[in-house]
């Protein structure tokens, strides 16, 4: 894990802003994480936490304007993608890293056949002619569970789940080493969600690629991921292996996430949603962004930027409450 060659992705101090007319949205603030080959990282957080922005940064696809990558490095297979030229980037996109987007309804170009859309990626990266690429596209469709003949059909002729399979086929068409899946199942029906997830897991195993799975569904994380990173207001506030984060969540926000999950076993218990809303991203507090909503917050939390606390292994969280050695979350009382 610590060996550099085993790392497919290394993000260091990534900072991304959206510079609007008169305000600046700090979407990603000093985010660092690493991902090993073949591993799956779950990126969890509320809408607006900066998960998608982080993912797009890896492909250098932040819409510019208004998005600006202010600092940091993103090393993909040891090379900083932020220093690549546009041309080099387009060789990396789809070949080294692929991305699956949230809404399959809008991710496919409505005016081209799905076969063409898959074949296009193949033609770009594998220098195949149109016919060969199309044949390979048909194979890819079969791999994702769609009959190859349907390659000549247009996206509007497919259902949501099928579309997401097509998107997956596009993403996997050139055997990328890293797949970023941005809430791949959010827009799908629950039954379809499971199918798509199974498919992704299976394909991941088959191709042996690494994956970043962005979701706010902790259940999916539990099922799919090796590691988990929790984002809040543009920062990773807790990071660790699946077991570490799920069993011994350290950050009050992570605890809040777990508490807001319904528990089928004990239905009598009322859900405990996290009170309040995420802070205005243009006016983030100097200190911990979660402090205004944090049940454990002390006045100093607002002013002092929390530091990373490591809890052995890869597990860390950013919370100043741990200055107090005796501090522990309520949840631990229950679990332990």
């Amino acid at each position: 894990m610590e060996n550099k060659n085993d790392l497919i992705l290394e993000v260091d101090h990534l900072t991304v802003n959206y510079e609007l007319e008169d305000e600046t949205v700090e979407a990603v603030r000093d985010v660092s994480f690493k991902l090993g080959r073949g591993k799956t990282l779950g990126l969890v957080g509320e809408t607006g936490a900066g998960k998608t922005t982080t993912a797009l940064s890896i492909l250098n696809l932040i819409p510019d304007p208004p998005g600006v990558i202010k600092g940091g490095t993103i090393k993909l297979d040891g090379e900083n993608v932020l220093e690549k030229t546009i041309k080099e980037m387009s060789r990396i996109r789809g070949k080294e890293v692929s991305m699956i987007f949230q809404d399959p309804m809008t991710s496919l170009n409505p005016v081209f056949t799905v076969g063409d859309q898959i074949a296009e990626a193949i033609m770009i990266h594998e220098k195949l002619d149109k016919k060969a690429a199309f044949e390979k596209a048909q194979e890819m469709l079969q791999i994702v569970g769609i009959p190859g003949e349907r390659a000549a059909e247009y996206p509007h002729q497919f259902s949501g789940g099928m579309k997401q399979r097509v998107v997956i086929a596009i993403a996997l068409a050139c055997n990328p080493q890293l797949l970023i899946a941005d809430e791949p199942t959010t827009a799908l029906d629950v039954t379809i969600q499971a199918q798509v997830l199974d498919l992704m897991k299976e394909l991941k195993k088959k191709y042996g690629m690494a994956m970043i799975l962005i979701t706010h569904d902790l259940g999916i994380i539990a099922e799919t991921c090796d590691d988990v990173a929790v984002m809040y207001a543009g920062k990773i506030i807790e990071r660790g292996s699946l077991e570490e984060v799920f069993n011994t969540a350290r950050h009050p926000y992570t605890e809040g996430l777990f508490n807001s999950l319904p528990n089928i076993a004990e239905r009598k218990e009322r859900l405990k949603p996290i009170p309040g809303l995420m802070p205005d991203p243009t006016k983030l507090p100097k200190g911990c962004a979660f402090a205004p909503r944090c049940p454990y917050a002390k006045p100093s939390c607002i002013d002092v930027m929390p530091e990373e606390r490591h809890f052995g292994g890869t597990h860390y969280c950013s919370c100043n409450a741990y200055d107090d050695e005796s501090f522990h979350l309520e949840r631990e009382d229950i679990v332990l």
Binding site: E21, A27, T47, T53, P66, G67, D280
Partner: protein, 296 residues
């Protein structure tokens, strides 16, 4: 993307809608320049009587001074009847602007009412009649329609306004209908109905205000094309009657002099161009400012 949009719209929720549009319009340099020009033109048009004397400077002629190139005495030269082009241009703003504005006002009033009916009572005979009639009007090319109307009514300022206005009606009917249709289908109208608000209240409080932006944009753009249509009709001898210094008729009266005395067409031409440009820039700016999709 998604994240970003939520952030942005939250940010703007602080202002009223009009304030928000104005705020964004202010950022658009082109639109502000255009607006400045329009205000200036409007001021000139209102103060025309103060700035120049109609009888002596605008229609009064000194034939010995005819066709003088621009000089200190006549900064834009004189026309074929020895009248100062600058004075005529200043006064002409009154005619050209009013032709544009009144024509569009006619179109807006008729078009919006019909369009609102057609959009609100969809599927019925009302819609059918209105839209079929609109199709018929729209089927005839604008310019031909205007020519036929002016030919029938006779060429004078009012008829010019009517003919240009009538030819613009179909656009407003369609724009309004489309806007009303979209708005009527929105959930907040449903919810207004659900909480039992009256029909009139729904139309006036919820539907029409929300239809305004496409109509406003269309108005600004249409004023400029109305000015051009009017000048085209003047070219065909169907415009504002002489000696009124309407820009289009000034321009077309200079066409025989284009080669030797190009300033006779240059200045009215520039005046039309600048006005049209100004209205268009404001129109474009308004559209950008009102279109949530174009928010940055």
């Amino acid at each position: 993307m998604r994240e970003k949009n939520t952030l942005v719209s939250r940010q703007y929720r602080k202002r009223s809608r009009a304030g928000e549009v104005w705020h964004r319009l202010k950022k658009n340099k082109g639109a502000m320049i255009g607006l400045g020009i329009i205000v200036l033109l409007a001021l000139i048009a209102i103060l025309a009587d103060v700035l120049v004397d109609y009888d002596t400077q605008v229609i009064g002629m000194t034939l010995k001074d005819r066709l003088q190139h621009p000089s200190k005495a006549h900064i834009m030269g004189t026309d074929d009847l020895g009248r100062d082009i600058f004075a005529r241009l200043l006064y002409g703003s009154r005619f050209s602007l009013s032709v544009g504005v009144v024509a569009v006002a006619i179109a807006v009033v008729v078009g919006v009412i019909l369009g609102a009916f057609a959009g609100y009572y969809t599927g019925g005979i009302v819609e059918d009649i209105i839209m079929r009639a609109t199709d018929i009007f729209a089927a005839v090319p604008n310019m031909l329609m205007a020519i036929v109307i002016v030919a029938a009514l006779g060429a004078n300022t009012l008829n010019l306004m009517i003919s240009v206005g009538v030819t613009s009606i179909p656009q407003f009917v369609r724009t309004t209908r489309a806007a009303v249709l979209t708005v009527t289908g929105q959930e907040y109208i449903e919810s207004a109905r659900a909480i039992g608000e009256s029909e009139t209240k729904i139309i006036f409080k919820h539907i029409l205000p929300n239809c305004l932006s496409p109509i406003i944009v269309r108005v600004t753009l249409r004023v400029s094309s109305a000015i051009i249509s009017a000048s085209s009709l003047s070219f065909l001898g169907l415009g504002v009657p002489a000696p009124a210094p309407e820009w289009g008729s000034m321009l077309s009266s200079g066409r025989a002099y284009l080669r030797g005395y190009s300033y006779m067409t240059l200045f009215p031409g520039l005046a039309i161009m600048i006005t049209v440009l100004a209205f268009n820039m404001v129109g474009d700016g308004l559209r950008d400012a009102m279109d949530p999709k174009l928010k940055k």
